[in-house]
């Protein structure tokens, strides 16, 4: 009896996902706990592993959107694992399923050589049979899409499942070359994540009454403080003292002063939070992620820095879980690392506000004594939902952050 491979529940709010890459081909013999495929959800890419050992029969195509609980493959446990030699692997391919035997010889040859599973394609031949032309088109598509498995079934399965290969970035997209004489456009499907980002941003723009207020921040104090204690901090906590800890601490204080900004609108109610969970926008290869640093109100600056570092590593390693991305009561986004001087960030729903940090640069500033000095300045932007807060609170909230950072002693004293 074949065992069904179903889309597992990967997170509370996830109802569907898209087949990203099949790491295995139909007819492959898979080991229990071997990664079968990458499922792309709107929040993250999830690896789905085999629950039993046996022969895999793939039912869902790359790019297909599947629901949680949907059967996407079968594993026939009666087929045993052969010795891990190339010849044995080849033979196992030759012993194909009945459905594969329906394919013509050219299709079978191409399947063996390219790793493209004809059973995942829509056939243009008689009774929807897959033709060689269909395979050629699929191969061309695969060449321009980063989401297709490059693994050849002729490779031994141990090589395929080696953890080394797992998190390698997807192959770069081959863009139309301008040097050639022919101009061409290429079309590829949006990744599930990109689609979700697009959907959420538009939803945010359409629901919230977004308004942005700006201020400027003199970074002299924080910079000096950081310089003075950088080594000691590093020594004690084994982590670099960055700016993010200061900003989050300053924002926590402001959020506690203006709790509406830390709250959500839910229908006609307002949900207040007695905790401050920060969504920190991180740019990854797959797109913008906002992992959540929880309970920032209870953490020291060191604790925050350590939490951010841990999350950044997870993001780089593509190990961010759905839970890591869920929640968050307020967002900080730093466009400054890319050189942005000013921007109007978009609120991450259902949150009420988002703080935008920008590039710090020396600018001539008129000091209280009338003299002009070059000071390290940063523009701060706060986009907020005007439905929830009025301009007065929002402006004061941002001023509060500015004051906390220009004179960090205020954080200590709570004034």
């Amino acid at each position: 009896m074949p065992v069904e491979v179903k889309v597992p529940s990967v997170g509370e709010s996830i109802k569907e996902g898209m087949i990203g890459t099949w790491r295995k081909a139909s007819g492959d013999l898979v080991q229990r706990d071997e990664v079968l495929l990458d499922l792309e959800t709107d929040k993250a890419s999830v690896e789905i592993v085999a629950e039993v050992s046996g022969k895999l029969e793939i039912l869902a195509k790359v790019g297909q959107v599947v629901k949680i609980g949907e059967v996407i493959a079968n594993i026939d446990p009666s087929a045993s694992m052969p010795a891990q030699t190339p010849t044995a692997a080849k033979e196992s391919n030759a012993a194909s399923t009945a459905k594969e035997a329906d394919n013509g010889p050219a299709v079978r040859r191409m399947a063996a050589e390219t790793g493209i599973d004809p059973n995942t394609l829509e056939g243009s031949g008689k009774d929807q049979r897959v033709t060689k032309g269909d395979m050629i088109h699929a191969q061309e598509k695969a060449a321009t899409s980063p989401q297709t498995s490059k693994a050849s079934p002729a490779q031994s399965s141990s090589a395929q499942s080696a953890p080394k290969g797992k998190n390698e970035p997807s192959a770069p997209v081959e863009l139309p070359k301008l040097s050639g004489s022919a101009r061409e456009d290429s079309r590829k499907p949006m990744s599930m994540m990109r689609r979700r980002i697009a959907e959420r941003l538009v939803q945010s723009q359409n629901t919230a009454a977004i308004l942005t207020t700006f201020n400027e921040l003199d970074m002299t104090a924080v910079t000096e403080l950081r310089k003075r204690y950088a080594d000691k901090f590093q020594e004690k906590y084994n982590i670099k003292l960055g700016f993010m800890g200061f900003f989050i601490k300053a924002a926590v204080d402001a959020l506690q002063t203006y709790p509406e900004i830390n709250a959500f609108i839910d229908g006609n109610d307002v949900i207040y939070h007695n905790y401050c969970d920060f969504s920190v926008a991180v740019s990854t290869e797959k797109g913008l992620l906002t992992p959540v640093i929880r309970d920032c109100d209870k953490m020291s600056i060191a604790g925050i820095e350590l939490a951010i570092a841990a999350m950044a590593k997870k993001a780089r390693d593509n190990k961010i879980s759905i839970d890591d991305l869920t929640g968050g009561t307020f967002t900080i986004s730093n466009g400054g690392i890319f050189g942005s001087l000013m921007s109007t960030p978009i609120i991450n729903p259902p949150q009420t506000a988002i703080l935008g940090m920008h590039k710090t640069m020396l600018r001539p500033i008129v000091m209280p004594d009338g003299k002009i000095e070059a000071r390290p300045m940063m523009y701060l932007a706060l986009s907020y939902d005007h439905r929830m807060v009025d301009g007065k609170e929002a402006v004061q909230f941002l001023v509060r952050i500015k004051e906390n950072l220009e004179d960090p002693a205020r954080l200590l004293l709570g004034v």
């Binding site: 013509g104 010889p105 050219a106 299709v107 040859r109 243009s124 031949g125 008689k126 049979r129 033709t131 060689k132 032309g133 050629i136 088109h137």
Partner: protein, 466 residues
């Protein structure tokens, strides 16, 4: 008024009788109207079957005369009895037509003898030879009346000296000089029969190649082979007039602006066939015809008048018995509420000369005209073991496949038994196969089919035996 039928098929040729049997199989109360004394239409009575019988007989004679010696067979005297050949041909025909009658009985298809015409939708009049007419109610009426030879004013049929293909199957003596007007399939098959039996044969063709729509490479190759066997071809030659002088015919034609004259004791006019629909009463019914007199149909074989269907030579498409059969089956299946379908991309065409010619799909000329990029593989029977052993190694297989997808676009064969060889190709087309699919399928050795495999390999430039 008489019986009521679910389906009345008018015409008992290969399209009509097959449609009737299929209709009956599917539970329709079916009748088939046929005015000939025998069923089977042109194909069985005066077309495919009798011509193949005579082609076979004449081929045996020709081989004995010209080729047996090379196999080490000698004999002191060789002769043939034309009357016996014709008799054998007639026996073959009567066996076949009788077979269709038996199939009608077996499947409970009623044969309404007489000439059918459509009175109005749902009503068919059958007029017997003696002039008595009976009307039959047919909920569905299928026109399967086929075609008849086209007569040309420059050579009006007298059926003695100026003949059509039906006459040419029954001549009691071999003509001394036969002029065949028209270098198409029928003209060349008839030319072959009578040339092999000793007639001097001249073929007049208005176009610059024989076998009009066939691949030019094939046409050229066949012409060369037939010329070697003694047939003369006058291409780009348009017949202008004929004059009967006693027992012979003088023909005047124009070739390259010059007048050329021929003298023949028999003239066969084989310039094509036209739909045989005149006596059905279609004009009164308002059934639409196209410019060439063919009944207009939709993809389900429906005419513009509800309840009236048409198939075969009476409608558009190649005038081939197997095309008519498939249409008849599909039309009856449609009437019975099933999904009938004909794949017009995969209809083989065959010429029963020797070597035979057979093809499926597009010619090189067609692909070039449509600007389709293709790859080509060609393999000569000269390098095929079986053909060598048979002593029949003239001709070649040409495989044309899409440059990018490798899908088969056209396969053209000239060679021994090409008519049988094309079968595997038609199936490959039906399944949308690539040249590689044909190349990778195991072909028995030694067989002529290996030439198809090799030509398919040739598409990829990897022929083994060439």
């Amino acid at each position: 008024m008489s019986d009521t039928y679910d389906l009345i098929v008018i015409g008992g040729g290969p399209g009509g009788y097959v449609a009737a049997i299929r209709g009956a199989q599917l539970g329709l109360k079916t009748a088939c109207v046929e005015m000939r004394e025998t069923l089977g239409g042109t194909c069985l009575n005066v077309g495919c079957i009798p011509s193949k019988a005579l082609l076979e007989s004449s081929h045996y004679y020709f081989r004995a005369k010209h080729e047996f010696a090379s196999h080490g067979i000698s004999f002191s005297e060789l002769s043939f009895n034309l009357a016996e050949m014709i008799k054998r041909k007639n026996e073959v025909v009567s066996g076949m037509t009788g077979g269709v009658e038996f199939l009608f009985k077996k499947n409970k298809v009623t044969w309404l003898k007489g000439m059918g015409s459509i009175v109005k939708p749902g009503l068919v009049k059958v007029t017997a030879k003696d002039g008595t007419a009976v009307d039959y109610v047919g909920k569905n009426i299928m026109i399967a009346t086929g075609s008849e030879p086209i007569a040309i004013p420059s050579a009006p049929f007298d059926h003695q000296l100026i003949c059509d293909s039906t006459d040419a199957l029954n001549w009691s003596s071999v003509p001394k000089h036969l002029v065949v007007v028209g270098g198409g399939v029928i003209g060349l098959e008839m030319a072959s029969i009578w040339s092999r039996l000793g007639a001097k044969v001249t073929v007049l063709e208005a176009l610059d190649k024989i076998l009009g729509p066939m691949d030019r490479g094939i046409s050229t190759a066949l012409q060369k082979i037939l010329e070697k066997e003694g047939i003369t071809f006058e291409l780009s030659t348009l017949l202008e007039s004929t004059k009967i002088k006693g027992s012979s015919v003088g023909l005047t034609a124009k070739k390259d602006g010059k007048t050329v004259e021929f003298e023949a004791d028999k003239v066969l006019v084989a310039v094509g066939r036209r739909p045989y629909t005149e006596r059905l009463g279609l004009l009164d019914l308002g059934v639409e015809l196209d410019a060439r007199g063919r009944v207009k149909i939709d993809t389900h074989f429906k005419t513009n008048v509800p309840g009236i269907y048409a198939i075969g030579d009476a409608v558009q498409g190649p005038m081939l018995a197997h095309k008519a059969e498939e249409e008849g089956i599909a039309a009856s299946e449609g009437i019975a509420g099933k999904a009938g379908h004909v794949n017009y991309e995969a209809i083989p065409g065959v010429v029963y000369t020797w070597p035979e010619v057979a093809s499926v799909g597009a010619t090189e000329e067609e692909l070039k005209a449509k600007d389709v990029k293709y790859k080509k593989g060609q393999f000569n029977f000269r390098a095929n073991g079986r053909a060598k052993a048979m002593g029949d190694s003239e001709g070649f297989v040409k495989v044309l496949a899409d440059e990018k997808t490798d899908r088969l676009l056209g396969v053209h064969i000239i060679g021994p038994n090409a008519s049988e060889l094309i079968g595997e190709v038609a199936i490959a087309f039906e399944f949308g196969a690539s040249a590689e699919d044909l190349a990778r399928a195991v072909h028995a050795h030694p067989t002529l089919t290996e030439a198809i495999k090799e030509a398919s390999l040739g598409v990829d430039g990897r022929m083994i035996h060439s």
